[in-house]
């Protein structure tokens, strides 16, 4: 059989290529492209899918090791339970409280970073004053001091200032931003001199120019930065872990890991429901503002 089949198969592609040279490899290439991309999408979707499905099952079936690939019947009680009661591993701090804390932290970090970077970049670009370059470099150099390398001394400063276990302690130390300042500085440099001259002729002072010209022109940059910084703030882990000592200002990302604890009696169904809740706000922000965010990200970091 093989002796008769083989030559025919071998001859087939050659014959086809002679007849229609272009379309076949192209179609084949497209199939491979779709195949690999679908695999890629699945690689990212599968862990999420399992957690979403798992969050609709009861603790016993997950504990028994039934990996949930289809929806179960316990969605409402799991989400309601997590939202209102948390888990015993996190001293029953409701997930609602953790979510609120994360929303406050992420929003305040994003807005705060944008605000102080905007005004400091404005000062550096639109004025000449002694120490201008020194101030610029001082801000710039913070790029090299991420919170992770100065955790304990920073922790000590925060505790000396009485900011432990408070929103202020969570937010203020993370609010200085070299990247946002650099981005706004770069953008302010592109505002034409004519704008400034026209404003001066019309008798507008620096603050008037800031509110009426510089700020409105920066709107797209601010939107893009908001997405990036909101995600940055929401995803903080090490700093909140150190600064929060009670359940009052516990953030959701830290809360989930505490819920798992040492894996003795972990309420996996509640952990899964909480994970889904923790994912939603940052993923929603990124997807809803995808266009601005992608442009902003590639502009900011280059």
């Amino acid at each position: 059989m093989s002796t008769t089949e083989l030559p025919r198969i071998a001859a087939l592609p050659a014959a086809e290529e002679a007849a229609t040279p272009a379309p076949r490899p192209r179609r084949m290439g497209d199939v491979v492209t779709h195949g690999v991309l679908i695999l890629g999408v699945l690689l990212f979707a599968l862990p999420l899918w399992i957690v979403i499905m798992g969050s609709t099952h009861d603790a016993a079936s997950i504990g028994r090791g039934e990996v949930p690939l289809l929806p179960g019947a316990h969605a409402i009680e799991n989400y309601a339970g997590a939202w209102a009661g948390g888990t015993s591993a996190t001293i029953r701090v409701p997930v609602a409280v953790m979510m609120l804390n994360s929303v406050v932290m992420a929003t305040a970090i994003a807005v705060g970073k944008i605000a102080i970077s905007l005004i400091s970049a404005y000062a550096v670009v639109f004025f000449r004053f002694p120490g201008r370059m020194l101030a610029f470099w001082a801000i710039f150099i913070t790029l090299m001091l991420p919170v992770e390398v100065r955790i304990f001394p920073t922790f000590k400063v925060v505790s000396d200032l009485g900011m432990m276990d408070s929103y202020a302690g969570l937010i203020v130390p993370l609010i200085a931003s070299a990247t946002a300042t650099l981005l706004f500085r770069q953008f302010f440099m592109t505002i034409p001199d004519e704008f400034v001259e026209a404003a001066k002729i019309d008798g507008a002072g620096p603050m008037r120019f800031f509110w009426d010209v510089a700020l409105p022109l920066s709107r797209t940059n601010m939107a893009a930065l908001f997405v990036i910084l909101f995600v940055y703030g929401w995803n903080q882990y090490l700093w909140p872990l150190l600064v929060t000592t009670s359940g009052n200002v516990e953030t959701i990302v830290v809360g989930i890991v505490k819920m798992i604890g040492s894996e003795a009696n972990t309420e996996w169904n509640i952990v899964m429901a909480t994970t889904v809740l923790a994912l939603l706000p940052p993923v929603a922000v990124v997807l809803l503002m995808q266009r601005w965010f992608v442009k902003g990200l590639t502009d900011t970091e280059k």
Binding site: S120, F129, V149, T154, V157, V196
Partner: protein, 293 residues
């Protein structure tokens, strides 16, 4: 870098700079300075007496075989995370950049993991790799391959590498896609007309033209693997088993937080500072060169 037309005033710019500079000094320079100062000090066991010991903390650190092991872990971990996430992202970006049906949909479905926290990515992966409740972990044990990343150091390292790289792919994907879209189509068409096949076009045109992006991502990914993966390790392995997944940042945390060893943890913070200054310097030297080029 200077504008020609500016506003007059001295008090106002200082006022505008004040919030940023205040936070920078109080929460960045002062603590960083303290870290450097403490790295030369040693406290007695009761924390009562402190004395200046010069570089002894550093000498002890590098004489400690466990610290050398941690450096080794960090190198293996960072190199693997960087290579894995960059290679995966490059493959997906090149394919998603092709003129195919549903390209925008693929892009959206590959971008969303950007929003996931490293610690949350680790939690998602627990349900994949956990030996008794995870999809893959169960399957491996079912096939007779003993799998438990809580007991086996090599498996633990593999798990934290995969979870960390998985989280970073979408970031790299966004940058590669932007890089690909800035390659002039005419160049690629000319090569196609000359008979260069897609694979050859990739290695001779696309890959070299993407090298600035790749280099930038190399630095960013190394920084990510050094510092931002604390949450992944804390959620998955807590540095274990037997310190096999302890990285520099995790060790600094344990020594400062759990062992309360101020001198050693400060010395480690200084080592980390030197590492990040080196990485940032490399990045900016490179950007300078590219501007001239």
């Amino acid at each position: 870098m200077n504008r020609k037309v500016i506003f007059k005033g001295v008090a106002l710019p200082y006022l505008l700079l004040l919030p940023q500079l205040l936070i920078t000094v109080v929460f960045f320079f002062w603590p960083a300075g303290q870290a450097i100062w403490f790295s030369f000090l040693r406290q007695d066991a009761f924390g009562i007496r402190t004395q200046f010991v010069g570089f002894e903390n550093f000498a002890d650190l590098f004489a400690d075989p466990l610290y050398i092991q941690v450096i080794g872990n960090t190198v293996v971990f960072s190199a693997a995370v960087t290579a894995l996430s960059i290679a995966t992202a490059l493959l997906l970006a090149v394919l998603a950049d092709r003129q195919i049906r549903g390209a925008q949909g693929y892009r959206t479905l590959l971008i969303w993991p950007y929003a996931i926290a490293p610690a949350v990515a680790a939690v998602l992966w627990i349900f994949m790799v956990h030996p008794s409740i995870g999809l893959l972990g169960q399957a491996l044990n079912g096939m007779g391959i003993p799998w438990d990343y809580k007991l086996n150091g090599a498996q633990a390292m593999l798990v934290v590498i995969i979870a960390s790289a998985w989280k970073q792919v979408s970031y790299n994907f966004i940058f590669f896609l932007a890089g690909l879209q800035s390659i002039p189509k005419a160049v690629l068409e000319a090569a196609a007309i000359d008979g260069a096949r897609p694979v050859r076009r990739f290695w001779t045109i696309i890959f070299p033209l993407l090298s600035p992006t790749t280099f930038f991502l190399l630095v960013v990914n190394l920084t990510y693997a050094f510092f931002d993966t604390f949450g992944v390790i804390d959620a998955l392995t807590k540095g274990g088993p037997a310190k096999s997944t302890e990285t520099l940042i995790y060790r600094a945390y344990i020594d400062g937080r759990v062992n309360l060893d101020l001198g050693s943890s400060s010395a480690q913070a200084v080592v980390l500072m030197v590492a990040i200054i080196a990485l940032t310097a490399v990045q900016f030297r490179f950007i300078e060169r590219r501007v001239h080029y």
